[in-house]
Amino acid sequence: MIQVIAFWLFASIVIASATMVILARNPVHSVMWLILAFFNAAGLMLLTGAEFIAMLLVIVYVGAVAVLFLFVVMMLDIDFAELRSGFVRYLPLGALVAIVLAAELVFAVGAWQAGGVDLAARAAPAATDTSNIQQIGELLYTRYIFLFEAAGIVLLVAMIGAIVLTHRQRGGVRIQNISAQNRRRPEDATRLVDPGVGQGMEL
C-alpha cells in the first residue's frame, strides 16, 4: 500500500516536473524543476530496491551536475524578447528532434505490444542476502572489469582533453609563491627602532 502510494507520488512528480523543465520561462526555474525530477527518479529507484543507484543518482546528478548547470544558468543575462525571436529560426531543427522522438515512442510502444523480451527474465536478480553494493562490485570487478577500466580511461582522456583545451599560458602574471609566503617571519618585514626626540625617522 505504502509502496503504491509512494510510486504514484514519485512517478507523477517526475512527469510533472519534467514537463515544467521545458515549460518554465526562467532558465533557473527550469534547472530547479530538473533537480526535482532527478530527486524523484532516485525515489523510484529506491522503490525497485536499487538503493545504490538511487544514492549515486542524487550524489552525481543533483550534487554535482545540476550545481554546475545552475552555476552557468545563474550567470546568464537573459533577454526574453530575443529568446522568442529565435523561435522561427530554430523551428526546423526542433521539429526534426520532435519527429525523431515521436518515432522512437511509436517503436517503443510497438515493441512493448509485441510481447516481453527474454532479457527481462534473465536480468531478474537472484534473491540473496548480499547487499546491492556488494553485488554490483562483484560483477563490476570480475566480469565487466575490462569495460569498467575502459570507461575509466575514456573519462581520464576526456578530463585531460578538457584541461588541454581550456588551458592557456598567460604572460606577465605574478604567481603566488606560497612557501615563500609561509616562510616569511615578522623580522623580514618589520623593524623596531627607538629614535630620539626630534631626530625623525628614516623610512
Binding site: I2, F52, G63
Partner: protein, 360 residues
C-alpha cells in the same frame, strides 16, 4: 518489513500496535513518524542550547560574559531570540524572485534535518538502518548547497550573489576530499552502514581503544575530515560566505524573520551533524572510548553525546581563535592539499588492506 524492524528500537511500539489490531503498514508508518519526531524535536532543542553554548564559549575565550540576562545564566537566550524573530515582519524584497526566495531557507532547514535519519544513537537506535547510510549522508549534504545558491540568486542583490558563488565553490571543493576520506573509513569498516562502521571500531586502536582515529593510517584522515567539516559547514575560519567585512551577512542579507531563523537553525543543525559524523566515523560513535567492560554499562547515547559536545567545543574554540582564511587560500587548501593527500591515502589504505586483511 517485519525483519527490518526487528533490528530497531522502534520495534517495541511497532509490535504493540500490530498486536492491538493495526495493520503492519499503518503501524510501520506510525512508528516511522514517531521516530522522526523523536529525533527532530530534541534536535531543535539541542540546536537552541548549542547556539547558547557557542556564544558562551566564544565569550569566555574573549574574556566576556556572553548572554546572561534571560533566565538563569542566560540559558533561555536562544528561546528569547527565537520569539523575537518569530514576531518580526517577513520582508520580501520587491525585486526578489518570490517563490525561490521563500523556498531557499526551507531547503536548507529540511536538508539539515534529513541527514539525521541514518545517525546511529545506540546499537539499535537508528531511524533508517540502511546499508548505504554513508552514501545517503553524502547525497543529502550535497543538497545543502542549493539553499545557499538559491537564496543568493533569488535575493537579486549583489552581496548575496557573491556569497552564493563563494559558498557553492567552497562546498563542492570540500565535498570531493570528504568523499575520498570517507572511502578510507569504509575500506577499514568494510561497510557503508553507519552502525557497522561504529561496530568495526570496537577495540580497533592499539587493541583496546574504540576509535579509528588511533589507527596511524586513519589519524591524518580524521584531522582532514575535521577541517573539511569546518569548511563544509562554512564555520570560521572558512566562513567566507558570511564574511561581514566584505559581504554584509552573505546570502542571508535580504532575509528577515522566520526565513532568517530557518537558515540559522539549519546551519547549527548541520554543525551538530558534522560533529556527530566526526564522532561516528573516527572516534567510536556510541561506543565507550576504551574497550573495557564496565564502561559499557553507560548507555551508548551518552557516549555519543559527549563526543558530539566535545567536537562542538572544538568548533567553537576554532571559531574564537583562528582568523578567517583568504578565499584563494581556502581553494588552494581544498584542491591542492586535501585532494591529493586524501587520494593518495585511498591508495595507501587499500594497499595496506590488500597486504594484511585480504592478503594472498
Amino acid at each position: 518489513m517485519t525483519e527490518y524492524f526487528q533490528r530497531m528500537m522502534l520495534y517495541v511500539p511497532f509490535k504493540g500496535w500490530v498486536d492491538m489490531g493495526m495493520s503492519a503498514e499503518a503501524a510501520w508508518a506510525l512508528a516511522t513518524i514517531c521516530g522522526i519526531l523523536l529525533i527532530a524535536l530534541p534536535l531543535m532543542l539541542a540546536v537552541a542550547m548549542i547556539i547558547y553554548a557557542d556564544r558562551k564559549i566564544w565569550a569566555a575565550i574573549a574574556l566576556r560574559r556572553g548572554p546572561n540576562v534571560v533566565g538563569p545564566f542566560g540559558l533561555l537566550q536562544s528561546f528569547a531570540d527565537g520569539l523575537k524573530v518569530f514576531l518580526q515582519e517577513t520582508i520580501i524584497p520587491s525585486s526578489a524572485n518570490r517563490g525561490l526566495f521563500l523556498i531557499a531557507p526551507i531547503i536548507t532547514f529540511t536538508v539539515a534535518l534529513m541527514a539525521w535519519a541514518v545517525i546511529p544513537f545506540n546499537s539499535g537506535a537508528i531511524l533508517a538502518d540502511i546499508n548505504v547510510g554513508l552514501l545517503y549522508i553524502l547525497a543529502i549534504s550535497s543538497l545543502g548547497v542549493y539553499g545557499v545558491i538559491l537564496s543568493g540568486w533569488s535575493s537579486n542583490s549583489k552581496y548575496p550573489f557573491f556569497s552564493a558563488m563563494r559558498a557553492s565553490a567552497q562546498m563542492i571543493s570540500y565535498e570531493v576530499s570528504i568523499g575520498f576520506i570517507l572511502i578510507g573509513v569504509v575500506l577499514f569498516a568494510d561497510s557503508f552502514n553507519m552502525n557497522d562502521i561504529v561496530k568495526a571500531q570496537q577495540g580497533h586502536g592499539l587493541g583496546f581503544v574504540n576509535a579509528f582515529g588511533f589507527n596511524l593510517l586513519l589519524f591524518p584522515l580524521a584531522v582532514m575530515f575535521l577541517i573539511s567539516a569546518l569548511a563544509e559547514t562554512a564555520r570560521a575560519p572558512f566562513d567566507l560566505t558570511e564574511a561581514e567585512s566584505e559581504l554584509v551577512a552573505g546570502y542571508q542579507t535580504e532575509y528577515s524573520s522566520m526565513s532568517f531563523a530557518l537558515f540559522w537553525l539549519g546551519e547549527y543543525a548541520n554543525v551538530l551533524l558534522m560533529c556527530a559524523l566526526n564522532a561516528i566515523l573516527f572516534w567510536g560513535g556510541w561506543l565507550p572510548p576504551v574497550d573495557w567492560a564496565p564502561l559499557y554499562a553507560v548507555p551508548g547515547i551518552i557516549w555519543l553525546f559527549a563526543k558530539i559536545l566535545f567536537f562542538f567545543f572544538v568548533f567553537s574554540w576554532v571559531k574564537a581563535t583562528v582568523p578567517r582564511y583568504r578565499y584563494d587560500q581556502l581553494m588552494r587548501l581544498g584542491w591542492k592539499i586535501f585532494l591529493p593527500i586524501s587520494l593518495f591515502w585511498v591508495f595507501l589504505i587499500s594497499g595496506y588492506l590488500m597486504l594484511t586483511r585480504y592478503g594472498a
